[in-house]
Symmetry: C2
Subunit: 440 residues, 2 copies
């Protein structure tokens, strides 16, 4: 038995009928009764703003007014909620601001927009008394925004480690488990539609940093600029390092990392060794996952599809329901996100950041080299947990150079960089040496 | 900077200062500013109802009135929210009903109470216009109630598989990874406080069935009695089966299973083989985890501590905040849980349930036995995927009997039971044979 046809309705507009917009449209049209039952009101989808109205789409648009002009929707007082599914900053920023100013709630999946213009958008939302819901902006269908903002609200988050870019995780999985080189794995990801034609923002860590900035706001109420997050992508990772990491019982994952310590907040995006058998290390293919450690709840872990039409639409429509029930605006009031003046949390100075490290040196295959390296590391207070020295094998370009892999005990980041600087000056070392963090 | 001291406050009472109540009290007293910031109001903890007021507790009770008389709290019109942390059915049921009738919202971790008396409690809540929040009742600190009720609301859940009892998972982990017998693993769990002195409700699957009944209400809006869920515990599991399952690349987990198919809803609690390397199979020790497959979101997975003082308190205080912001009552209105007349979903008839199965027979070590078994299985349409026949080894009680392990392809449950009935009649088979489901 469906909900009554004459129940109250809420008029909405949808901007963008690309991948995400099409997924949202499908749920709204194919499962209208389900949404009505769970929202307590029926959705009346009045407007669809598209770039090309002539384009044939795989969505029923009966009763929906299709336009290229966003103003039609913004100026329509019947529209209470706008779903922004166009992506990008320009013109999305102005459209979102105008929608809020016109008294509409906004649901968005746009992580770049929030990461770069959160303060402006949320100031406008507060001024207008409207909600901005953005579950789909991080982790696709994984309800991590709701978890951090609502369900785990009793906790101070102490530690967050996350795989937030499905493209990178797909590439790393292929490299790790099938021995593909980076370029080949990337090409496969592009063929399957996991990676864009221009994958730069994915593989250089920018997309992950955008998402980390959003999670940082929720978990620590701290406003950080994406550019202020130290960031390393997977685009310069070598297959050899994945292989050696594997021999040492670790997977390499592109992680978004946040640690809240007495010294401050430590943020970074970097390819990182994660111990095999732990949940994060076993996340394969285009999936996303987030490990959150809270002071009361302890370890928690959330996993699911981080992108794609229907998983993202699941989060967008979940937000739409949250706005329709009235919950979202209540959350907005207490979360007070991207508030001005910004809640800043002191950043941990690099000389206070400690981690285990994976180091790989390319050294001359001659006696005494390890002793030289070990001496320099020792002078910087870095102690060695394990060493692997491999033969190069016949396929190496230069048989006189061999890889030397060192896993360190806990070491200070600043000292690691100083030591590597000195080591890379040695005659017997071919720079640059490789340094990756190891997650506990 | 903390929230203003003169902000609005909400008066609450806490019933029970056992493990969960003490954890809640700690968060409320140690992190009052945090809670105020996230709830938008300060908590005024006015009443603590305890069994023995003379008992010394590791909680600051400054300003809290301690009583043994629940009526003091129920009759106090200042109290807006009651946290029920006493557990059990009697007198918790009447107390919860009285609190609701007196116009108070209720936060509870009491899974047995909800599973067995959900209709009565929620009817009272609806009549009184009050919320009952129960995140802590399933999965401890894992926000699975919020996920199913709110964040995944755009989805029809198709499939749910969960590890919901930390005691059982701890025991199974010890058996699997350390080769302990069931009784020894149980004794260790009791020493560590993971298992009660009387562990019956944990190990026989009752606790898991209570939690599955609650998840079934949220995921399928279906009211099921715990007694109607087919249920098998871990108390009769033999170490040999964990060993053989391991050789076949599987872990054995006590799973709560729910499948929503065109034939109806299929529910069960049973020790089940799960393929190693999948997230559920790798959940170790006292942790809980829930895999949810939704029609839009696809696969999702939630993991965390399923019990213990602070993880459970995390969920209770999260609910308290949800009630204080006003979100919980909005959720209650749309979720319409345990509504009368009950939303019933047709149960899948056993002759339509299909699964892969693990079968272990104890057979006479003589030629032709496998052929006899295979013939009976074949007559019931059951085809064999793999067979392992082990030597008994010297330590077996009877060297003339050997174990025969068979993994089947997809087979109909009713046919499996019929075939086992016939096989257990054979002279060459020592009954009872073992049958465990295999999760895809």
């Amino acid at each position: 038995m469906g909900p009554a046809k004459d129940m109250e309705h809420v008029t909405i507009g949808l901007i963008g009928l690309g991948t995400v917009g099409t997924g949202v449209a499908r749920i709204l049209t194919e499962h209208a009764d389900r949404i009505a039952r769970r929202a307590g009101k029926r959705v009346r989808w009045k407007w669809a703003v598209v770039r090309d109205p002539a384009k044939i789409r795989d969505v029923k648009l009966d009763g929906v007014r299709v336009t290229t002009d966003t103003a039609r929707l913004i100026d329509d007082p019947e529209v209470e909620i706008v779903v922004e599914a166009m992506g990008g900053i320009d013109p999305a920023l102005n459209i979102v601001l105008d929608c809020l100013a016109a008294g509409k709630h906004v649901v968005t999946a746009n992580k770049a927009l929030l990461a770069e213009h959160g303060p402006q958008i949320f100031a406008q939302a507060r001024a207008a008394g409207r909600a901005v819901a953005f579950e789909a902006s991080v982790g696709g269908g994984i309800p991590i925004i709701q978890a951090l903002g609502v369900a785990l609200a009793a906790n101070q988050v102490q530690n967050l480690a996350a795989i937030l870019n499905g493209t990178c995780n797909y590439i790393l999985t292929k490299m790790m488990h099938e021995g593909l080189a980076y370029a080949d794995a990337l090409a496969q990801a592009q063929e399957l539609g996991y990676a864009e034609a221009d994958p730069t923002l994915d593989v250089d860590g920018t997309d992950t940093a955008h998402k980390l900035a959003i999670l940082t706001q929720l978990a620590f109420q701290a406003t950080v600029k994406t550019g202020d997050i130290p960031r390393q992508g997977i685009d310069r990772l070598q297959l050899a390092d994945l292989k050696y990491a594997g021999e040492l019982g670790h997977a390499v994952k592109l992680l978004a990392l946040a640690k809240f310590t007495t010294a401050g907040l430590e943020l970074r995006v970097a390819p990182t060794l994660v111990k095999r058998g732990t949940p994060l290390a076993e996340v394969r293919g285009p999936y996303n996952a987030i490990r959150v450690v809270g002071d009361a709840v302890g370890d928690t872990f959330f996993y699911g599809r981080g992108a794609g039409m229907m998983p993202t639409a699941s989060a967008v429509v979940g937000d739409l329901i949250d706005v329709m029930t009235g919950r979202a605006i209540l959350s907005s009031l207490v979360l007070d996100l991207w508030a001005e003046p910004a809640h800043t949390v002191a950043r941990t100075p690099p000389h206070q950041i400690k981690s285990h490290y994976y180091l790989r040196f390319t050294i001359a295959d001659s006696p005494g080299v390890l002793a030289k390296l070990a001496r320099i590391l020792g002078e910087h207070g870095i102690s060695i947990a394990s060493v692997i020295q491999h033969d190069t094998g016949d396929d190496a370009p230069d048989n006189s150079a061999v890889p030397l892999v060192i896993m360190t005990h806990l070491a200070v980041e600043a000292e690691i960089h100083a030591a590597l600087g000195e080591i890379d000056q040695l005659d017997v070392v071919r720079p640059p040496s490789v340094c990756l963090g190891v997650e506990d």
